[in-house]
Amino acid sequence: MKPRLHPFTALTAAASAAVVTTAAAYWPLSVAMALAAVFLAVRRGVAGRVLPAAAVILTPLCLSLLVLHGLFFPEGQTVLARWGPARVTAEGLGFALELGTRTTACVLVFLLFSFAVSVPDLVSALAGRGIPPQFGFVLASTLTLLPAVAVRLDRIRQAQETRGMVVRRGLLSRLGALRLQMVPLVLALIDDAGSRAQALDARGFGSPGPRTSYREVADPPGQRRFRTAALLFATAAVAGRIVASWPAGVPS
C-alpha cells in the first residue's frame, strides 16, 4: 500500500502552490501549475470529479474575464479592433490571460486537495492540533449532509406532487412550487438539528476538556520537513512580491 499523505501535508502543498502562483503573477508558471494539478488528479484517479467541478466554476469566470477585459480596457494603448464603444486591446487580452490562468491554477490545486483528501483523516488531524472540535463537526457534518439533502429534496418534491403540486410556466407558479418544497425542507432540517443537538449534548460534545481520538493519522518526519520547506518557500515568494511592488505612496 502506498504511504498516505497526511492531510496537512496536502493542504500545505495546495496553499503554498496557490500563494506562489499568485505572488509570481507569471502566466507560464500558472499554466504549468494547472497542468501539474491535472496530472496529479489523473494519477490519484480523481480527475473524473475534479475536472467537471473545475469546468463549472471556471467557464463562466473565464468568459466573464474575456468579455470584460477583452472588450473594455480603458487603460489599453494597443488597439487591435474596435466596434463602437468596445475596443479590443492587447493589454486587456494580456490582463485577462494573466488573471484567468492564475485563477484556473488556484482552483484546480484546491479542488485536487479537497477531492483527494480523506475527510475523516482531516477532521481527526484538525482535532489533534487544538482546533475547536466544533469546526471539525461543522466540516464533516456539512459534507455528509449535502448528498442527504439532495435525496430529501427529491422525496419532498414527490410528496408534494402526489398532493397535486404542478409546476407551470409562469413565475408565480414557479415561486409557489419553490415555497412548497423549501418550507418543508428547512423545517425538517432545523427539527433534525434540534434532536442532533440533544444527542450530541448527551455525549458531552459541548463540554470542555481533552478528547480521545480513536483515529490516529500517521505524520512521518519527512512530511513535516516538507511542510516547513513549503511554508518557507511560500513566505519567501510573498516577501519577494512585497519588496518588489510595495506601493510608492505608503511609508515602509
Binding site: L61, V67, L68, F73, E98, Q134, L153, M182, G249
Partner: protein, 273 residues
C-alpha cells in the same frame, strides 16, 4: 454545589476577555485590510495583474475571518453549532441554483441570514465565515469572500436584535443597508483577486462601467452597489418568510429569539422543563 467544575467563574471570565479581544482583532484586521487596499490601489492595472493587492486582500480578510471563527465557535451552544451545517447546505444549494441562472444576483446567504435571525450576530458571523471555508471545498473561488460573508451574518443578527424582523416590510430595508456595506467590502476581492466577477450577469454590469472609463475597483464597487443591496434585500425577505413559516415551538427554543423578541408574537405557553 461542592463540585469545582460547575463553578469555574474566574477562568471563564478570563477566557471571555480573550475571546472578546480575538473578535475585535478579527474585525480590525478586516477593516484595516479594506482601508489599506483602497488607499494603495494600483493606479495603472495595465502594468500587470495586481498581485500585491491580491496577496494583501487574501491574507488580511482570511486572517480576520479565521480570528472571528476561533473567537466565536467554542462559545456557541450545541443547539446553534448543529444549525451551522444546515445553513451551509442551504447557502450552497440555493447559491448554486442561482449561479446557474445568469441573473446578476447571488442569493448565497439565505442560510447565514436565517441562523443570524435565530441565534444572533455572533453565530451569524461565524456561520458566514465558516460557510465560505467549507463551501470552498467544492468551489475555491468563494474562499476569499469569507470576510464579507461574516459581515452579512453579523449585520443580519444586529438587525434581528433591533427588531427589524418583526414585520416583513422592515426585513428588505435591513437587507438593502447590509448589501451596501457587504458589497463595498467584497469589491476589492473581486477586483484584485479575480480581476472581475465570477458571473456573466454581474460581469456585464462591470463591463458597462468600464466602457465609461472607470477604474476596475470603481467599476466593481459600482456593480456591487447595484447588485448587492437588491440581492440582500431579497435574501433577507426570504429568510424572514422562512422564519415566519417555522412553527413557534421551533423558533422560541432559541434563547436569542426569546430574549430580544426577534419575531413578533408571544412565546407559546410551553410547560416548564
Amino acid at each position: 454545589m461542592s463540585q469545582p467544575a460547575l463553578t469555574v467563574t474566574a477562568p471563564g471570565q478570563a477566557a471571555g476577555r480573550r475571546r472578546r479581544l480575538l473578535e475585535i482583532a478579527g474585525a480590525a484586521a478586516i477593516a484595516a485590510t479594506y482601508i489599506f487596499l483602497v488607499l494603495t490601489q494600483p493606479v495603472d492595472i495595465a502594468n500587470g495583474p495586481a498581485s500585491f493587492s491580491a496577496l494583501v486582500a487574501l491574507g488580511g480578510f482570511l486572517l480576520g475571518a479565521v480570528l472571528l471563527i476561533v473567537a466565536v465557535l467554542p462559545v456557541l451552544p450545541t443547539s446553534t453549532v448543529v444549525l451551522i451545517p444546515v445553513a451551509l447546505v442551504l447557502n450552497v444549494v440555493l447559491g448554486q441554483l442561482m449561479g446557474s441562472t445568469g441573473l446578476p444576483f447571488y442569493l448565497d446567504a439565505i442560510g447565514t441570514v436565517l441562523i443570524a435571525v435565530l441565534a444572533g450576530p455572533a453565530a451569524g458571523a461565524a456561520t458566514g465565515a465558516l460557510s465560505s471555508i467549507v463551501w470552498s471545498f467544492f468551489n475555491p473561488t468563494v474562499l476569499p469572500f469569507a470576510a464579507g460573508a461574516a459581515l452579512i451574518g453579523f449585520l443580519a443578527g444586529m438587525a434581528a436584535r433591533g427588531g427589524l424582523f418583526r414585520r416583513f416590510y422592515f426585513a428588505p430595508i435591513a437587507g438593502f443597508v447590509t448589501g451596501i456595506l457587504a458589497g463595498v467590502v467584497s469589491a476589492p476581492i473581486a477586483a484584485f483577486v479575480f480581476g472581475g466577477t465570477s458571473g456573466l450577469g454581474t460581469g456585464a454590469i462591470v463591463s458597462a462601467f468600464r466602457a465609461m472609463g472607470d477604474t476596475l475597483l470603481a467599476a466593481i464597487t459600482k456593480q456591487a452597489l447595484i447588485s448587492d443591496p437588491m440581492d440582500k434585500a431579497i435574501v433577507f425577505t426570504i429568510a424572514a418568510l422562512l422564519a415566519y413559516a417555522l412553527p413557534r415551538r421551533t423558533t422560541f427554543q432559541f434563547p436569542f429569539v426569546r430574549r430580544y423578541r426577534v419575531l413578533a408574537g408571544k412565546a407559546p405557553a410551553a410547560p416548564e422543563a
